[in-house]
């Protein structure tokens, strides 16, 4: 399985795909299915009972903050030949995910749900998990950081009279550092500041 590496200029899509690949490469995909949204439409369209236990990640909130002061340009990308600059802006993104598990009697029931929760704890909880995700998603230009993973309570739901064993109320908060892509053309650089030698300071 190919692991998607984090790219700060495509921070959202590489984060989603990076998380999906990271989980799928650490679970048995014949037993578990990873979806990056609340799987209600999937549940409507799926032939029940579920044959695989579903692990879902749904983005609930994504506050972002500027990095640095002023215009927040982190790289000027100065071109001495054309005497242009093509600045790139950096931002911090906190991505808050709701994490859920959906198991049915056919997919392993409560045992499958408990195992999935334990697997998730190993993948996102603690310092070792932080390092594993960092290693998995580090493409040399940033990586995905785990800020928090906790919560989760068990509930029973039904779809078409089929029992579903769900985990609800579990949260994963990630931090990534995004960067705006370079524009097609840069703007003129200020090469030199000309000062009139005749200027005097009055007063």
């Amino acid at each position: 399985m190919t692991q998607t590496k984090f790219d700060p200029e495509h921070w959202l899509e590489t984060t989603f795909r990076g998380i999906k690949d990271y989980v799928e490469s650490n679970v048995n995909t014949r037993i578990y299915q990873v979806v990056m949204e609340f799987p209600a439409p999937l549940m409507d369209a799926t032939i029940l009972p579920l044959r695989k236990t579903i692990i879902h990640f749904e983005l609930d909130d994504s506050p972002e903050m500027p990095l640095g002061f002023g215009d927040n340009n982190m790289v000027d990308n100065y071109d001495s030949v054309t005497q242009t600059v093509n600045p790139q802006e950096a931002r911090i993104h906190h991505l808050n995910f709701d994490v859920g598990i959906w198991a049915s009697d056919a997919s392993g029931g409560t045992t499958s749900r408990m195992r999935a929760r334990q697997i998730l704890s190993g993948l996102f909880g603690g310092a070792q998990a932080f390092d594993r995700l960092k290693t998995a998603t580090d493409g040399g230009d940033g990586f995905i950081e785990i800020l928090r993973f906790s919560g989760g309570s068990f509930a029973i739901d039904t779809v078409n009279d089929q029992r579903l064993y769900r985990m609800i109320g579990c949260e994963l908060e990630l931090r990534v550092w995004g960067r705006t892509p370079k524009l097609d053309e840069g703007g003129p650089a200020i090469e030199e500041i000309f000062q009139d030698p005749g200027l005097t300071i009055l007063g």
Binding site: F38, A40, D98, R148, G151, A155
Partner: protein
């Protein structure tokens, strides 16, 4: 059309603006230095105002279009079902429903208004307040549980608490607050700070607290100051 009422409490309160929190913070600092016995009252005011701030945000997210005619049979009218075959020979039955465009969104639309009016605050003790929703549908809305095939999560409780913390971040009282909402809610009595607990709808049958609720307590340092 009902008038939007963001804050509701039997206890008198000031509108929870940034200036209100800054003023309470000033009072806490004054009490810490001048009148330590006042500290517990000022801490209680801080926590109480945080609870009603969260209440206002949760109610705003619950104050969608008013559709009193959108009750069962209308907002989700069962039209029938269709059969879909597959190459494996299995035949799937898919129900067909009629819904309106205002359904399943945030702000949550109001049919009986029970969910919107259900966000309430009450005190559990000195500097311990909870925001809860005693409507039956709160649990289902929060976690996307529904008897029909259409199930949509609308995490009003979670998002309103996050917005509360964002607003508190811009006040001078922020350093007194920390969030413990991500702890396992089953053990919510073991931590201090913010608490969050969600009870199942089954609790409604027994008459206990039901729906989704969020708790607020004063910082632990408050108790330590009292002992020293």
């Amino acid at each position: 059309m009902a008038k939007f009422v963001p804050y509701q409490s039997r206890k008198a309160f000031l509108e929870p603006t940034a200036e209100t929190f800054d003023g309470i913070e000033e009072a806490i600092r004054w009490a810490e230095v001048e009148v330590p016995r006042e500290l517990r009252f000022q801490m209680n005011r801080l926590v109480f105002h945080m609870a009603i701030l969260n209440q206002g945000i949760a109610r705003k997210m619950s104050f969608g279009p008013h559709e009193p005619s959108g009750g069962p049979g209308v907002h989700h009218q069962y039209l029938g079902h269709r059969f879909i075959g597959s190459s494996s020979g299995e035949v799937r039955r898919e129900a067909q429903y009629k819904t309106t465009n205002t359904a399943w969104k945030i702000p949550v639309r109001r049919i009986t208004q029970a969910y919107y009016l259900g966000w309430k605050v009450r005190s559990l003790g000195p500097a311990v307040w909870i925001l809860y929703n005693d409507s039956r549908e709160a649990y289902f809305i929060e976690f996307g549980i529904h008897t029909s095939l259409r199930r949509v999560r609308r995490p009003v409780r979670k998002l309103s608490l996050r917005k509360t913390m964002e607003i508190m971040l811009r006040t001078s009282a922020y350093h007194r607050i920390w969030v413990d909402i991500y702890a396992n809610p089953k053990y919510h009595h073991q931590g201090m700070g913010f608490h969050q607990h969600v009870s199942g709808a089954g609790a409604a049958v027994t008459g206990n607290l039901r729906g989704a609720y969020v708790g607020f307590t004063g910082p632990m340092v408050f108790g330590q100051n009292q002992r020293s």
